[in-house]
């Protein structure tokens, strides 16, 4: 697991049924591109978040393929419609096989 990885998510606590809400996510990650050389002159192997997904009550909302040109600490902001109370689940997939997860509940009201 890459060091210092910490997901952050901002989801409103409540929304009216059928509302479209804005979700902001950020994960602290080096996003080593695989293009750089280390002190020894050898390439530093690529280590990035290659996929990001968000699900709401088991239904996929967004599925992003991430490429090496994306900057360090990748930030995604997107909109989602909330038909009912439930839970957003966010997942980031690391090149090294690690999976980082976080979830946020949202209530109707």
């Amino acid at each position: 697991m890459a060091s210092g990885v910490k997901p952050r998510v901002k989801v409103p606590k409540t929304a009216a049924a059928g509302d479209i809400i804005t979700i902001k996510t950020l994960i602290s990650h080096k996003m080593e591109s695989g293009q750089r050389k280390g002190d020894d002159g050898n390439l530093i192997p690529r280590s990035i978040i290659n996929r990001f997904t968000a699900d709401f009550n088991g239904q996929n909302v967004i599925d992003v393929t991430v490429e090496p040109a994306v900057s360090t600490n990748p930030y995604f902001e997107f909109e989602a419609m909330v038909p009912e109370a439930g839970e957003f689940k966010f997942t980031w997939y690391d090149d090294d096989g690690s999976v980082y997860e976080t979830a946020k509940k949202i209530a109707i009201g």
């Binding site: 910490k6 952050r8 902001k24 602290s28 360090t72 600490n73």
Partner: protein, 278 residues
């Protein structure tokens, strides 16, 4: 003829673009909290009428990043510092949290630093490292290393919105005078002093960069340039390299005195830690 016309109109446009003025900036407010970004200069900053936060001189997009704590990338490092705060280290088996519990108790500390104690300038980095060596039995963190910068951001954040108010009288006077001396001393191959840019020429463009007054109220500051938090001393070093001078030692006496002097020039400005700059 037509070409000439185009040239003239382009020139006008450029002229307009360059005269970005401080007054055009909106007020800085985060989560309903208002910040003082412009105020009358303290009497000891004799060549300034008013002091202004560096936030004013940044592009709208950069300014916007600081308006929301989620959008502010500096908070990634604040989060890391919260983990460090609770991490037990050293021979005493203690974490910061073992003695201090809530970091909120440090509200106001950032506004009074650096301060002079027992004939020495003490910065927040010094306070953190003294705790680590004397109370935790741990190795001190590297001055201006990523861990200590994150920690000073977390502690500084507790004072966010409070006005800078460092002591410059009594024991501090001698160090303040030293810092003042450094501020006005020309150094390096370009033969420039801090004052040449940050006092004589703030709010003008130095090539592509909009010069600020070089205030320290937002430090540690997240810079888009290097995508991390930057300490005051690292910034001083960067400035000195820009004027082709041999930088003083990070964490050394010179920079600490300079830090005290520059902090005093920003008396009254709100602490913005962690601010966002370019």
């Amino acid at each position: 003829m037509k070409t000439l016309k185009v040239l003239v109109s382009t020139a006008c446009f450029v002229g307009m673009a360059v005269s970005t003025h401080a007054e055009e900036s909106a007020a800085l407010s985060i989560d309903g909290q208002e910040f003082t970004i412009q105020t009358a200069a303290p009497a000891h900053a004799e060549n300034l009428d008013e002091v202004t936060s560096g936030w004013i001189y940044r592009a709208k997009e950069t300014q916007a990043l600081q308006l929301d704590d989620f959008d502010n990338p500096g908070f990634v490092f604040v989060d890391q510092a919260i983990d460090l705060w609770n991490e037990v280290e050293g021979s005493e088996g203690k974490a910061c949290a073992s003695c201090h519990e809530d970091v909120g108790q440090f509200a106001g500390l950032r506004t009074t630093l650096p301060r002079v104690e027992d004939g020495k300038v003490v910065t927040m980095e010094d306070l953190v490292n003294t705790c680590r060596t004397d109370h935790m039995g741990a190795e001190p963190w590297k001055y201006s290393g990523s861990q200590i910068i994150a920690m000073t951001a977390l502690i500084g954040l507790q004072s966010r919105g409070m006005p800078m108010n460092v002591a410059i009288d009594g024991e501090a006077a001698e160090f303040w005078e030293q810092g003042r001396e450094l501020y006005y001393t020309r150094v390096g191959q370009l033969d420039m002093a801090c004052s040449n840019c940050h006092e004589d020429n703030y709010d003008t463009m130095i090539r592509a960069d909009h010069l600020s007054q070089g205030q320290t109220n937002g430090f540690p500051t997240y810079r888009l340039k290097n995508a991390k938090l930057n300490s005051t001393h690292a910034r001083f070093k960067g400035c000195m390299k820009n004027i082709r001078a041999e930088p003083y030692k990070v964490g050394g006496e010179e920079f600490k005195s300079l830090e005290l002097y520059i902090a005093s020039r920003g008396q009254g400005l709100s602490v913005e830690t962690p601010s966002v700059r370019n």
